[in-house]
């Protein structure tokens, strides 16, 4: 191994150790809140307006649904989510759709959403930044959060009939929230 190669290797090793030390130190010095809450994120909507979660969240619960125009299970789940929105929008439950479509499909998002009957806000997470921060690793993923942004329920994927499971979760958490 050349001298330069040796130096590079030592530098890489140092970088790795520093990174690990950084997080260990942060962990041991922090009163950490457990993973399970969403921060007040802001994204652009299909009209290119920046919107924050606090502006559009539901009074009691908020359902956040990650989807994409090319995702097969999303196309099955979206009509069911639209039905749930119609059933619960007057009971303090807000619905937010988040499209993770890349620039390749961005022009399709608005027509697709309207055609699917979506009447609630649709936000764009084209580079997957929010998806990464919220630990969402697949679409569709649906989160139910309470008014303090705590994640109460997470549903990954969508199979036939699973809208009933989501409905049960909304009902259960609506009751416990006092609505």
């Amino acid at each position: 191994m050349s001298k330069q190669g040796g130096i590079n290797m030592i530098n890489r090793l140092k970088m790795r150790v520093e990174g690990i030390v950084l997080f260990v130190l942060i962990l041991i010095t922090t009163p950490v809140r457990s993973q399970g809450s969403v921060y007040d994120f802001s994204l652009k909507d299909t009209d290119n307006q920046r919107v924050s979660l606090s502006e559009i969240k539901g009074e009691a619960l908020t359902v956040i649904d990650f989807w994409a125009t090319w995702c097969q299970p999303c196309i099955r789940s979206l009509p069911k989510i639209v039905e749930l929105n119609e059933a619960y929008q007057d009971q303090g439950v807000g619905f937010i759709g988040i499209s993770i479509d890349s620039p390749r499909n961005l022009s399709k998002v608005k027509p697709f959403a309207r055609s699917m009957g979506i009447r609630y806000p649709v936000l764009l997470d084209s580079n997957g930044e929010l998806m990464g921060e919220l630990n969402v690793m697949a679409v569709p993923t649906l989160l139910i959060i309470d008014s303090d942004y705590r994640i109460l329920y997470m549903h990954e994927g969508f199979n036939a009939g699973e809208e009933e499971i989501i409905r049960e979760e909304i009902e259960k958490h609506l009751v416990s929230s006092g609505h």
């Binding site: 790795r16 950084l22 809140r33 009209d47 479509d101 890349s102 620039p103 309207r114």
Partner: protein
């Protein structure tokens, strides 16, 4: 030197901050064990272990995140442990500052798009090293975003994402980018301009783009972007040597009817090592036989359009029609055309059926007439179980040296319970000589080749999911989130544990 000092400074700040009040820590881990190999490759039962740990720490407007990857198998030169990403960010409602590894996109991606495809593990035939599939920038960025005005500036070295962490740092990050983006929005119209300088080792390439988008009356919206390299002495937008990219779209979003019309003109616009990603204007398919046949946009020379319309019937059925065209002019002229139709229909309370037909002319792949059809039927049954059956078939005649009639078929049957537990079996067949031929013999083997694989997935709880694959998996091109990459054939057992915390 700079990065080291920055790390220590921010570490101290973070520790002080975290002593006060609450912060949030989150992360995920993907651990994958493979016992197997590309078929007909030694050793057939190669054991490897890949792990990717992503950690995020947030305190008010501050955020720190990191990605740690390692890969181990019996070949020493393929092993690595890498702190692949480290990011520090501070953001308020209008200000943002980031240092380290980050993702960014300018406009529609004509000049720059850095991205990650979460959960995807990439392995190339050349290196046989597994690593996460992302193209990030290493550098700094900062910006202001008001109600009408925004300004962003960045410096970064983009990652060449097909090269694994075993390759030298300087080879993986050969480009050096400086970019500025600013824009103004008024009356529902958005105007922005971008400037990008790529200055790898003594060279200087200047690019600029103008982006105009907004809403129009009667539920229409539009998006246009014109980008070019300047300072080359070549005429802009004319001739073979012009370096430009033009993208325009018009969309209509009605109540039950919607659609989009897009147009592109790309000329010599593969920038640097490939850090830009203009819209491809080709249908993004999730059906296996169509996904593999996706036309890959040639940024060197491509013009074309894409039209897609949706119609939703009152009974819940949805019809999607798509057509696209791409014209490439090299030593010959190649024109790709695709026509796609899909109908989704609910059946009863919760069952559904989807059916598609597709026809394409693809001279680049020497497939002048390619036909495909297939569908998915999904139905629930008692006990919170549901079943899915998917059948796809593709037929074409290939011209050229390895020509002939090709049949591709896919059959998937699966059951799942509440998205927590699922089992599926996949059978694939192909008579494509590119798949059936043994390169070690002179003859072209054309006997049909079969792949049979079994998948099981169990989600223990909200935090842990185990997936197991056993059998054979067909490789080939795969496209996700607009990014296409090559997946290797595999035969063996794959175990993946995904944890979130």
């Amino acid at each position: 030197m700079f990065a080291g000092n920055l790390k220590y400074s921010v570490l101290i700040v973070l520790i002080f901050m975290s002593i006060e009040g609450h912060s949030q820590f989150s992360g995920n881990n993907i651990m994958e064990i493979l016992v197997g190999n590309v078929p007909d490759t030694d050793p057939p039962a190669l054991v490897s272990n890949y792990d990717q740990l992503n950690l995020n720490y947030r305190f008010k407007g501050f955020r720190a995140s990191t990605k740690l990857e390692y890969f181990i198998n019996e070949f020493e030169e393929r092993r690595y442990v890498d702190l692949s990403q480290l990011q520090l960010r501070y953001s308020t409602k209008s200000l943002q500052f980031t240092a380290g590894h980050f993702y960014e996109m300018l406009g529609n991606g004509l000049l720059l798009r850095a991205y990650e495809i979460p959960g995807t593990i990439f392995e190339s035939q050349g290196y046989r090293v597994r690593h996460g599939f992302y193209r990030d920038l290493l550098g700094v960025s900062g910006g202001y975003e008001g109600k009408r005005f925004h300004l962003k500036a960045l410096y970064g070295k983009p990652l060449v994402n097909v090269l694994p962490p075993t390759v030298d740092f300087n080879e993986r990050r050969i480009d050096k980018i400086y970019a500025v983006n600013t824009g103004y929005a008024v009356w529902g119209q958005n105007f922005s301009i971008n400037y990008l300088l790529n200055a790898p080792s003594g060279m200087h390439h200047h690019f600029g783009s103008v982006n105009l988008s907004g809403n129009l009356p009667f539920d229409f919206s539009y998006n246009t972007e014109v980008a070019a390299e300047f300072g080359t002495g070549q005429p802009l937008f004319t001739g073979d040597r012009s370096t430009h990219a033009i993208y325009a779209s018009l969309a209509y979003a009605g109540l039950n009817f919607g659609g989009s019309l897009e147009w592109k003109d790309y000329s010599n616009f593969f920038l640097g090592s490939g850090f830009n990603d203009p819209p491809t204007l080709i249908k993004e398919h999730s059906y296996k036989v169509l996904n593999r046949s996706t036309h890959v946009t040639q940024l060197t020379n491509e013009r074309g359009y894409q039209v897609e319309v949706y119609y939703r019937f009152n009974a819940g059925q949805m019809l999607t029609l798509n057509t696209s065209r791409a014209r490439n002019e090299f030593s010959e002229i190649y024109v790709f055309n695709e026509y796609f139709a899909e109908l989704y229909a609910p059946v009863g309370e919760s069952a559904s059926i989807k059916w598609f037909i597709d026809y394409a002319r693809d001279p680049v792949k020497e497939e002048p007439n390619r036909y495909a059809t297939g569908g998915i039927y999904e139905t629930p049954f008692p006990g919170k179980w549901s079943s899915l059956i998917e059948l796809e078939y593709q037929y074409f005649e290939r011209d050229g040296l390895i020509g002939g009639v090709v049949h591709n078929a896919v059959l998937i049957a699966g059951v799942s319970r509440r998205s927590n537990l699922s089992f599926s079996a996949t059978w694939e067949l192909s008579t494509d000589p590119y798949m059936t031929d043994n390169i070690n013999t002179f003859e072209i083997e054309r006997q049909a080749r079969h792949w049979i694989g079994l998948d099981a997935r169990y989600k223990f709880n909200r935090h842990h999911t185990l997936t197991i694959f056993a059998g054979q998996r067909r490789g080939g091109p795969s496209c996700t989130s607009g990014i296409c990459y090559e997946v290797l054939d595999f035969q063996g057992v794959e175990i993946r544990l995904t944890s979130k915390f």
